[in-house]
């Protein structure tokens, strides 16, 4: 046997070790990958259960602006009644405020409260199942076209009941309103005409249209399948039509501004109430007053619990102020990023916030494997 033969045998043995190691690693890789994905799926289920069913602690950490939560959960707390998958609008809003707001909940704090530390990243997206849009047809006569499309694939939603209210500011700090209702056609669109109710010669200083879409309660087949179902898909959308309309948020029973605005004390709280089986929802305007002792954060003296928006006028009467609770959001631990890592796992649930239907999507990924 020559020296080359020993060397050759050695090389063969080393090659066998190398190839078999690669083979074992390659064979185990798919199993490991499946296992990791499965773990991520279970972890995402665990988190969404906690986020949607637990109110967190303190139980009213959303509306109580003086506290930081010890535990994170978005469920609405009620002493006498429990409703699964019903979220607290104030808790959701605290995720949706501007980052420089002192009431904003940063994602790092949420990760810490959920005991995830730096091991995981997460994103919470909340969106309406129906995409509601408003197109001006004749602005001077206040005729608008409303389109209702499914959020997924943008399919038109026919036979949805639309109730809309136009609130407009004329001189003398007067907020007037006009109502219209319609049903969407096969193309998912319908016209709402306020021309008979809006004085044409008067200068309008600000317009706001509140649209309430009531869908499934009008679908006959669904009513036959679920005769006792009291709620269908309800979507509320608020459109501010002029740039002079100043925007604000409602947090708890406070009005939050990006910059301080001097408001008139009278405020219109807009609530949405179910009419009956086929007529959709009524948009009701409840007059109330603001306690303006804190200019940065006026407080409602009486606050209706299901207020979807509040309207007020600036002290000089020049601007209409719209305060809303914007529930649609993208909240992520990767700021500014809307594309999530490839191995991320997403899980979706339908939830009710303030009586309206939303879809919440939780995306979870590992920061390290």
């Amino acid at each position: 046997m020559h020296i080359y033969e020993y060397l050759f045998t050695g090389i063969i043995i080393a090659a066998m070790l190398l190839s078999s190691s690669i083979m074992i690693t390659t064979l185990s890789e798919p199993t490991t990958e499946v296992s990791e994905k499965e773990q991520l799926k279970v972890a995402a289920e665990k988190l969404i259960t906690q986020i949607l069913l637990d109110p967190g602690y303190p139980l009213d950490w959303g509306s109580d602006t003086t506290v930081e939560p010890d535990s994170f959960g978005l469920a609405k707390h009620n002493e006498t009644m429990r409703e699964a998958y019903t979220l607290d609008p104030d808790k959701v809003l605290r995720l949706n405020l501007k980052e420089n707001s002192s009431y904003y909940m940063p994602p790092s704090l949420v990760l810490e409260l959920l005991n995830l530390g730096n091991d995981y990243g997460l994103a919470i997206e909340i969106y309406t199942p129906l995409d509601v849009s408003l197109y001006p047809v004749n602005v001077s006569r206040d005729i608008y076209e409303i389109g209702v499309f499914s959020e997924h694939m943008g399919l038109p939603v026919a036979n949805a009941v639309i109730n809309a209210s136009l609130f407009f500011l004329t001189g003398g700090k007067n907020i007037s309103s006009a109502k219209a209702s319609a049903r969407t056609g096969d193309e998912g669109k319908c016209l709402v005409d306020f021309s008979n109710y809006v004085p044409q010669a008067t200068e309008i200083l600000g317009r706001i249209i509140i649209v309430v879409v009531d869908y499934s309660s009008t679908v006959e087949t669904l009513q036959k399948l679920l005769p006792y179902a009291t709620t269908g898909i309800r979507v509320v959308k608020v459109f501010a039509l002029e740039s002079r309309v100043r925007q604000a948020s409602i947090l708890g029973n406070h009005v939050l501004f990006d910059e301080p605005i001097n408001l008139d004390s009278e405020v219109h709280e807009i609530i949405v109430v179910k009419h009956n089986e086929t007529s959709g929802y009524a948009i009701i305007d409840v007059r109330s007053e603001l306690d303006r002792s804190t200019v940065e954060m006026p407080t409602f003296i009486h606050f209706e619990p299901f207020t979807v928006a509040a309207l007020a006028v600036t002290e000089d009467g020049a601007n209409l102020v719209l305060a809303t609770r914007t529930m649609t959001l993208t909240y992520t631990s990767l700021p500014g990023v809307r594309v999530f890592p490839a191995l991320a796992h997403s899980i979706e649930r339908t939830v009710i916030i303030d009586g309206s239907t939303y879809t919440i999507r939780l995306t979870l990924w590992r920061m390290t494997w």
Binding site: A43, Q50, Y57
Partner: protein, 164 residues
Amino acid sequence: MDVPIKHIIGTVALIGLVAMTAMAYTIITSYIESDVKKQQLKQIAENVALNLVEMANLVNFENLFADRNVTKTIDVPTDLGGNVYLIELMNGIEEGQGFYVHAYLLTKNEINAHSPIPLNSNSTELLISTYNQVYSGSGELVVWARKKAVEQRIVTEAGIAGGF
């Protein structure tokens, strides 16, 4: 003499190489095996944590004064490749980790995994019972939760039990 010495050196080197190859192969396979076992332990820990969160939230939906345990039996493997493992609930609040499920092989502690429990880790509204350790031998594990009066407050208590 020259030729036999060359053969002896070559043969010894080959035997050494074969032995080293076998050893390296064993190390690589045991590393992969421990990695797979870690993954399995992690899956088990995640499953226990998920059920614990579900049970605690289910109890929160119950009548405030309902005095009963809510339990769920979950199937877990009796062993991992012939190795018995242990599942325990840990309180890592002082280390800044909150509560977590810890699973590890009894014979090799270094093969372990943990899964965080995203419950009220810092608040006083929930108690995680960290007394019990559950061995895998029975193949069944019970996750339980209940309402409990503590210092004139009603809190939710949750934990695991085994050996049924």
